[in-house]
């Protein structure tokens, strides 16, 4: 176990964490403002990735592909908000779960119908591929470093949007008292559509960015969605800050657990059994983390209300 390996894995964990944050931020924003649990958020992630792969295939430009991912996911988000999601505000959570589950079925099969069952590939552009030398002699892939930077920048932008702009004030007011803000003359329907589209765009962006290091395929969104749920349960539902801390915790736990738990067990077990036990336990590590947080704080680290 060298220091270099540890630093490399910490960077991997950070990269995974910030991408989870892009998903979790949208989910937690949508829940915080509209009180809606959105299972179809993973579908928006998938839509972003497919839009990026299609545009990259047609034009060869990665920047255009990212723009397409943002635009298509935001439009898809706005469309489902207007047609379906709008009818679910204030309804029982069971209805929200079912309706958004139905949306997953429709989107997944629809995408399979459009693009086929085989995974698509989205290539990292030349100017972002290859390793970069970090201080201390670490060689780290430039693309992953870019992902960390983009994630942090988007997080900063989101913070500025919510804390420093007029729309942000309206969003925060909507979280606290929707009747009052509607009475003050803010078009609450438009505001909800906007918040949903922002969340969708973030998910689409995450899908496109991650799609370049993994394959773009139907069903890619749901595992990430469930991890994003773990993130916001840990961070506290409705809190962007909680989503950020939670995402980094989950990203680091998952990445470091997968590497170090088997090594840890090798200290006192035979190697074969240690690898088996270690990797089985590593696959459960984030859920154990979630259970511990729940025992300690049932509403999450930064959650205000249950």
């Amino acid at each position: 176990m060298s220091t270099l390996l540890i630093i490399e894995q910490v960077l991997n964990g950070l990269q995974f964490g910030v991408m989870l944050f892009l998903m979790a931020a949208g989910l937690t924003l949508i829940f915080g403002v509209m009180g809606l649990i959105n299972l179809a958020h993973g579908s928006l992630y998938m839509i972003g990735a497919f839009a990026a792969a299609a545009v990259a295939g047609a034009t060869g430009s990665f920047v255009l592909a990212l723009a397409a991912a943002l635009a298509v996911a935001a439009i898809a988000g706005a469309l489902i908000e207007i047609t379906v999601i709008r009818r679910l505000y204030g309804k029982a959570h069971l209805d929200q779960v079912l309706a958004t589950f139905a949306l997953i079925l429709i989107f997944s099969e629809g995408t399979r119908w459009l693009f086929g069952s085989f995974p698509l590939f989205l290539n990292i552009p030349d100017y972002l591929s290859g390793p970069v030398a970090l201080p201390g002699g670490i060689q780290y892939p430039l693309y992953r470093l870019t992902l960390i930077a983009v994630g942090l920048l988007v997080g900063l932008g989101l913070w500025a949007l919510i804390e420093r702009t007029r729309i942000g004030i309206q969003i925060r007011a909507g979280e606290n008292d929707r009747e009052m803000i509607a009475a003050l003359g803010v078009d609450i329907r438009l505001l909800y559509t906007l918040v949903f589209a922002i969340g969708a765009a973030l998910a689409g962006l995450a899908g496109a960015l991650v799609g370049a290091i993994q394959s773009v395929q139907v069903g890619m969104g749901e595992p990430v969605l469930i991890l994003a749920f773990v993130v916001i349960v840990i961070g506290g539902i409705g809190s962007i800050k909680g989503a950020f801390i939670g995402a980094l915790l989950v990203g680091l736990t998952d990445t470091l657990g997968g590497i170090f738990l088997p090594e840890l067990f090798k200290l006192f077990m035979e190697p074969g059994a240690a690898t088996q036990t270690g990797s089985a336990l590593a696959s459960m590590a984030i859920y154990i983390l979630m259970s511990l947080v729940l025992i300690w704080r049932p509403t999450g680290l930064f959650g205000a209300r249950a």
Binding site: F31, I37, L39, V84, R87, H93, L94, D95, V97, L98, A99, F101, A102, L103, I104, L105, I106, S108, E109, G110, R112, W113, E222, P223, I226, F229, V230, I232, V233, I237, Q276, S279, A280, S283, M284, Y287, M290, S291, L294, I295, P298, T299, G300, A306
Partner: protein
Amino acid sequence: MIPERLLNWVVFAGLLAVPLWAIVADEPFTITLVTRAVILAIAAVGLNIALGIGGLVSLGHAVFFGLGGYAMGILAYHAQTYTSLDLFGLSLAGTKSMPIIWLVAVVVSALAAWVIGLLSLRTSGVYFIMITLAFGQMFYYFAISWSTYGGEDGLSIYVRNGFPGLNTLVPIQFFGLCFALLCIVLFLNARLQNAPFGLALNAARQVPTRVETVGLNPMRLKLVAFVISGAITGLAGALFADLNRFVSPTMFNWQLSGELIVLIIIGGVGRLYGPVVGACLFVALEHWLGALTEFWHVYLGLILLVIVLFARGGIIGLLTGKEGAHV
């Protein structure tokens, strides 16, 4: 409008009549299809106790379904390879006997439901949904990484497990067994709904504070309901594994948890026969629409969307003309 009681009898008679017709017409596949519907119905009846009466939206019931499946898979695997099952220093023999497998499946799922319930019931609402979903995923990844029992490939059991006095390989006899279990589970559910426990649970869903003021503990009521619910779904999992003679991590898949809720909603939430009607309809749709188009899930999604947005009582609600399930 049809009275609900009459509708229940029609469904019950239909479930018996279709396989009997299939024997006469010599269509064993139809019997297998109905058996599948019956097993899914048992799982959904189990979930309906937590969801319909207790109001616990569990998006992780595939955990219990999968645990039941693996209980069967592991016991039968050790029996068919003549190896012993080493557990906490004990060396146990595998078994091919259904009653023992069912007992193990029920006990294991009940224990898991108790632990998961203890943790998840600390929260409510959206948190509960997300946490049960996350626990489901935890078991899914654990099953994938557990290479002793097949990992991602799952376990194949070559001969269906036996039941004393029956030849379970004959489709109609296995169907009879599953149907009998469905009847028992439905009877238990009906008794439970009207028993003091069921009434208290129903109240705990509607007004937890008032239940607390009369001296009952809503959290404990919900935990017991969750355990009973998990145990029944576990039993269904063991049967499902026996039907396919195959267990794999897909039994833990979160999509299955979603589909179990879908079965209940299509049929009607909180109604005794809701899960049964839903399961029959689901299997029928899967069979017919699946034959018509590869993308039948799109239609399932649309049907579900229409039911959620416009027909709150599900099919039973539509047919009996009563929206609300709870009287």
